[in-house]
Every structure is written in C-alpha cells, then in structure tokens.
C-alpha cells in the first residue's frame, strides 16, 4: 500500500568519487612523471643554466645509453666489467645472507646472543662502514675479494636485525601451543618462529640487496679493479658526464634484478602472506 499523502521519492543513489590524483592509472602516471622530469632536465641544459660538464643534455645521455648498451650487447669490455660487479654483488649478498642469518638466529633465539652479541653488533653498525674499505684492501688486495668483503660487511647488519625481529614475531598463544604440544626448542624454532619470521627476514634481505650494491661500487671506486665502479670513476675523471649517467643507469638494472629476485623469492616462500603492498613492488 502506498501512502497517497506522501509524494513519490526517487531512490537515494550517489557515488563516492576518488580525487583525480588517485584515479590516474599506473602507466599514465609513470609516463607523465618521466616526461615531466626529462622536459625540465632538457630545459635546464638547453637554456645553459647549468654547464654541460656538470649536467649533460638528455640527448647526449641517450646517445651514451645507446653506446653502452651496444657495447654490452656486443659483448665487449663493458660486459666483463658488469660481470665482475655482478659476481661481487652476488658473493657479497650470499655471504651477508649466511652470516646475517646465523647471527640473527643467535641474537633472536638465545639470551646469550641478545645480551652479549647484540650490543657489539649495534656498536659496529653505528660505525661508518665505508671507512673499513682501506682495511679490506690491505687485507685482501685490489682483487674482487676486498670489494666482496665491503659489500657483505654493509649488507650483513640489516639481515641480522630483521632475522632477530622475525624470531620474536610469533605471538604468545602460538608459543603456548607449541609448548603444550611438548615441542623441543629446535622444533619451535624451525616450525614456528622461522616461518613466522620469514616476512621480516625478506624485508631485511631487500634492504641488504640495496646495501650490497652500494658496498660493491664503493669498493670498486676506492680499490680499482675491473668492475663497473672502476669504469664510472674512469669516465668521471675524464669529465665524461653523459657516460657516467649511462653507466649508472645500466648499473641500476643490476640492483633491480637483485631486488626483484628477493621479491620473487618472498612471493614463493611466504605464499600465505598475500597482504597487498602499496605500489605492488614489495
């Protein structure tokens, strides 16, 4: 029965609208930002506001990008340099992961580690680690060894801290559950604390993957050798800024490859933790 005295009223239908800046699709947003930055860069160099020695034009940089790319594809000397740096980064990362994880378990699982080892680790971590580079060169020479050592040294600490934090992540009820099942300490570590801590450990590995790159390149700057870092230093000393830019861009591909290897491993091993991360890259 409709109430005759009441006028016909339309349904209350309305939409919630997102702000324009939140509605832009990813590829448009990325292209827009890229174009904007390159345009400003081009303007700044074209107008001669900044000397060409300090900042090359986008066109010059592109030219060198193509040259370096061609060199890499043709398998010339730059490939050897990139391969040397790749090996340095890979060894450094594996050593950092091994030592960092072991120390992290010692710190996170035992009171001895927490009470005795952790304070010293914090003390070393606060030191500027790059300052150790001359020592590593003195100990291990100008070959790849000293660069690996510096890279591993820088990348170890975030893994220690992340592993230890991960081992604390299991909550009280889960610990009680394992205790009530009569689980041994090793069982609790392997079947509860480590799996629970995996997301933390992977976060540490991601931070380490960035640090290991910085360590390897710093090592090559300071200790010479045949890596990409030495190429960059060489170009920089010749004031060949476009080449420096191009080399850094190709170097960043190595960093990205390592980072996304870790991300892919995390997706595979922590399959149950599908929480959406902003940007979809972590």
């Amino acid at each position: 029965m409709t109430d005759a005295s009441r006028p016909e009223v339309e349904d209350t239908v309305w939409e919630e609208r997102e702000a324009l800046i939140d509605r832009i699709p990813r590829w448009i947003a990325m292209t827009f930002l890229f174009v904007a930055v390159v345009s400003i860069w081009d303007l700044v160099t074209r107008m001669g506001w900044v000397s060409a020695i300090i900042l090359p034009t986008p066109a010059e940089t592109l030219e060198d990008l193509i040259f370096v790319g061609g060199n890499l594809i043709a398998g010339e000397y730059m490939v050897d340099a990139l391969w040397t740096t790749t090996l340095t980064v890979a060894y450094g990362f594996l050593i950092a992961a091994g030592i960092g994880f072991s120390l992290g378990v010692l710190v996170g699982e035992t009171k001895f580690g927490e009470r005795a080892v952790m304070p010293y680790l914090v003390a070393i971590d606060t030191m500027p680690k790059v300052a150790f580079a001359p020592l590593f060169i003195a100990w291990l020479g100008f070959d790849i060894g000293s660069k690996v050592a510096l890279a591993a040294f820088i990348a170890t600490f975030p893994i220690v801290v992340a592993t230890a934090a991960g081992l604390y992540a299991a909550n009280e009820n889960e610990r009680l559950l394992f205790k009530s099942m009569g689980a041994t300490r090793l069982q609790t570590l392997l079947r509860l604390k480590l799996p629970t801590g995996l997301p933390y450990i992977f976060t540490g590995l991601k931070i380490a993957s960035v640090g290991v790159m910085a360590g390897a390149i710093t090592g090559e700057f300071l200790g010479g050798g045949r890596g990409f870092g030495a190429l960059i230093r060489q170009s920089a000393s010749q004031l060949d800024t476009p080449r420096v830019f191009a080399l850094i861009l190709y170097l960043s591909l190595l960093g990205l490859a390592l980072y996304f290897t870790v991300v892919w491993m995390q997706r595979y091993f922590v399959f149950w933790n599908k929480a959406e991360k902003p940007g979809g890259i972590g």
């Binding site: 009820n173 009680l176 399959f271 149950w272």
Partner: protein
C-alpha cells in the same frame, strides 16, 4: 572440597560420580618475581565426562590455574594429578584451545589439525593421522575444507579447526582458555552449542576458563567461582539444567537465578 562454601541448592547428581580424571589439592602459586600470590589453596576434582568452568574477574588467577593444569607452569605447592600421574610438564593426553585459533598460516587445515602428532611422533605418524583428522573435520562440519589454508577460513571455522586439533590425539582432558571470546556474539552462541554436541558425542572431560557468565552456565556441569588477591575458589556452583542445553534455556527463570547468584558472588568482590 573443604574450602568450598555450602552449595546454593542440593545437587541432584545428574553427572555420574565416575572416576576422577583431574585432581588438584592444596595448590598454590606465588610468583617470586613480585611475590604475588596468584593462587591460594585450590582444591578441584574433575570427573570423567564432566564439564567444569572457572569464572572470575581478570587477574583472579584463572589463567594461572589453567596453565598449571596444562603443565605449562610449575605450581609452588600442592598436588596436580591427571589420570593418576602427576603433571610435570606438557602431556600428550591434554588437549588445549586458546582465545585465538592459532592455526599456522603456511599449513593447510588438515596439516594444522595433525600438528600435535607431527610434533610428538614425526611426519609419518602425522600423515597416518589424516584419516582421523578427516573424521574430526566431518564432526565439526568442515568436511569440505581439509586442504584450504587458514587465511581463507572465517573466525568461527578457524576455531572449529582448532577444536579438531585439540581432539586429534584423543586427550583425556580438554583445557580451554576463553576459546570463543574473540568471536562475535551470534557465532559464539552457535559455537557453544556445537561444542556441547561434540563433548557429549565424545564423552569429553573439559575445563573451561571464561569471563562470560552465560557461556559458563550453558556449557557447564559445575562452575568454580574465583576471586582475586589471593586467587581462590570461593564457590563450586552445580548447574542442574538438563542436557542437551539449548539457547532458549537462557531465558528461563532457573538460568536467570543461577546467573544472578554468581553475579552476586562476583559483584561482592568488586565492592570489597
């Protein structure tokens, strides 16, 4: 039961006075850390097939009592005996359930259920227990979800899976620490009825810690009312409502009287 005040009404002995499963005598617990007496002179006997609850305000020592009964915490004085053997640590004949389902997210539902067996007897025994786990899943109405990961289960379903995990080793004693308190009220009512059905079907002996009066009354044969400072049992209330209990019983006068009586006991403390 020397320390217990007179019962409010004559027990009608609906529960058969069968074998005692769990016996606690002159139990006390003092934390050395802050010299706090969490439990003082607790006596409690739980018979086979009995459902006993303990209720009290937070900090009255009910969780401490449960942990001692589970062998997770050593007592300061007293005798704690399950099935004729003293409880000197966690035991396979004790099944536990916690406030959260605490299912491991990287294991499927059925793998979670056989976890106690995997921990105690290894992977092969756990695999062999899958048949039993499947029967339990059917019992709680999760027969279609053995290979689902816990992340895909609702809160109520997850707690039902954790009931299965508690039952999988066929324990002599079930210890429950506010198992349904994290669920919404309707799911909780439903789970209480489900849990009653499961306990009756299996003749389970259970001990429940709760802070919900209605939950305690609807599930229990006896309710231990606890008070704090020091933690002690002040009254052993026998619930003579017939079984199976139904949610409609909550509206009966008898139910109301029991709730009122316990509420008065607990309320007195608040004004002390």
């Amino acid at each position: 039961m020397s320390k217990v005040e007179p019962l409010p009404r004559e027990p009608q002995t609906t529960v058969a006075r069968s074998l005692p499963v769990y016996e606690i005598e002159r139990l006390s617990k003092t934390y050395a850390r802050n010299n706090l007496t969490a439990l003082s002179d607790v006596y409690l006997t739980i018979h086979k097939g009995e459902f006993v609850s303990v209720i009290g305000s937070s900090g009255c020592g009910k969780s401490t009592l449960l942990k001692i009964m589970a062998g997770l915490l050593p007592p300061t004085t007293g005798r704690v005996v399950l099935d004729g053997r003293p409880v000197l640590g966690p035991r396979p004949d004790i099944g536990m359930m916690f406030q959260q389902a605490t299912l491991l997210p990287w294991k499927t539902t059925i793998e979670n259920i056989v976890l106690p067996i995997e921990i105690r007897e290894g992977r092969a025994a756990a695999k062999a227990a899958h048949v039993r786990a499947m029967d339990l899943l059917e019992l709680v109405g999760l027969g279609e979800f053995p290979n689902v990961y816990p992340g895909e289960l609702s809160g109520g379903m997850a707690q039902r899976a954790s009931i299965c995990r508690m039952l999988v080793a066929d324990p002599a004693m079930l210890l429950l620490d506010e198992p349904f308190s994290a669920l919404d009220e309707f799911t909780r009512d439903f789970m209480n009825m489900e849990f009653q059905r499961i306990c009756m079907e299996r003749g389970a002996t259970a001990f429940l810690v709760t802070h919900s009066l209605e939950e305690a009354v609807i599930l229990s044969d006896r309710i231990q009312v606890m008070k704090a400072r020091p933690g002690r049992i002040v009254e052993d209330v026998r619930i003579n409502l017939r079984r199976p209990r139904t949610l409609e019983m909550i509206n009966t006068q008898e139910f109301g009287e029991i709730v009122a009586h316990i509420r008065e006991l607990l309320g007195k403390e608040a004004h002390e």
